[in-house]
Amino acid sequence: MTSPRDIHAYLAEFDDIPGTRVYTAKRARQGYQLNQFAMSLMKPENRERWKADEAAYLDDWKITPEQKQAVLDRDYNRLLDLGGNIYFLAKVFSTDGLSFLQAVSTMSGMSVEDYSAMMVAGGRSPEGVRSIKANAAGANAAASPADTKDVGDS
């Protein structure tokens, strides 16, 4: 048996990763209707209704005003904070004709070109983005600001 014995400690660690929203039960509950809305866009007839009037389509779902506005704004980081999951939200940006790479770059605060260049150069280094606490503890030491400048805390 190697699973954690303390579920609270297990879950608390997920809040310590910079720029990352782990899809915990809390988020799954908060975002249930939001994610099911996104899932509905897998059907062509629903996509047509959605494109015709996004706000009206959203009124059919029991989502919060904050979630509704974030969908209309295509604010994916906000949607993740409000319980969205990226695999479900992908149905929204796919309907918009965006690729994963295009959509993902918007969450990282980079242009598509800069994000693509970063990936071609080997991707984002894990240095400086492993732990919020470790970064805070090392703030007075030799932490390099360049390592974290693109990554906000969640």
Partner: protein, 279 residues
């Protein structure tokens, strides 16, 4: 008697499937990613497995939030490719092996794994891209496939240890099936990648290669790695690597390396691929 002859693991990157489907595999960007599968394509053509037990995760295609099985096994005759929002991939239907699948399901449940049994579902890129990487573009897939779907989206996913133990139980189930079948177990997903949030684009090549090292030989250190290590080191979607441990567990106490490939980047992710045989 059915026997597990090899284990295969690979990333299941959607863009690789798109490159195959659109005939872009010869483009300069893609050739280094695909080159690492040439060895395996030739090897699979010789091996001619009868059945592949293919461990993958559904990406909000067949399953939504209504039902979230931790471990599910496909017992259907056939599976159609899922429409992931831009129409189904134009690849052959996946043909199952219901007799072996039901046998494994029963054996696993008696072995105290509470499997969800799936008799109807579509299969998304998580399952069809690995088939394309290993078999190219045949008119029909050259083997039968038993899908095993793992929840790695909603937390907590199963522990590495539980995945390894499931692999061991799959091996026991296969060995007790009377028909003479050449069976492979494939683990798919990973390696390091993060598709969400400001930290998107994370790639950790040294960590990925250390994970590949850990699959070879007789060490079982990977089964004890906690989820948080995958998240910190391999990105939020790097957690998919726990599915590789089901493949590894099914190969028994020790493995021998037949082939290994690693390339960065393909779309947002690292490409990892390994072929092992039990010793």
């Amino acid at each position: 008697m059915a026997r597990i002859t090899a284990g295969v693991a690979t990333s299941h990157i959607p863009a690789l499937g798109v490159a195959v489907d659109l005939g872009k595999t010869e483009e300069a960007y893609w050739t280094p990613a695909f080159a690492g599968y040439d060895w395996t394509k030739a090897w699979e053509a010789e091996q001619k497995p009868d059945v592949v037990i293919l461990v993958y995760n559904d990406h909000a295609s067949a399953f939504d939030m209504k039902i979230i099985p931790t471990f599910a096994i496909g017992c259907a005759e056939e599976y159609e490719p899922a429409d992931e929002g831009w129409g189904p991939r134009q690849v052959p239907n996946v043909v199952g092996h219901p007799d072996l699948a039901w046998h494994i399901a029963q054996s696993l449940i008696l072995d105290e794994f509470d499997m969800t049994i799936i008799n109807e579902m579509t299969v998304d890129h998580g399952l069809t891209v690995p088939l394309s990487m290993m078999f190219g573009q045949p008119a029909a897939w050259p083997c039968k496939v038993i899908p095993i779907a793992v929840n790695v989206v909603t937390y907590p996913p199963p522990s590495g240890n539980r995945c390894w133990a499931l692999g061991e139980a799959i091996a026991r189930a296969v060995e007790s099936f009377p028909d003479d079948l050449n069976v492979q177990v494939w683990g798919t997903g990973g390696m390091s990648h993060q598709l969400q949030g400001p930290r998107a684009g994370l790639i950790n090549a040294p960590w990925d290669n250390d994970f590949l090292d850990g699959l070879v030989g007789d060490s079982d250190r990977l089964r004890h790695m906690p989820h948080i290590d995958y998240l910190r080191e391999a990105g939020s979607e790097g957690i998919e690597l726990v599915m590789w441990l089901i493949m590894r567990g099914s190969l028994g106490t020790s493995t021998r390396l037949l082939h290994r490939h690693y390339h960065v980047p393909a779309s947002n992710t690292a490409v990892g691929h390994i072929v092992l045989e039990p010793t």
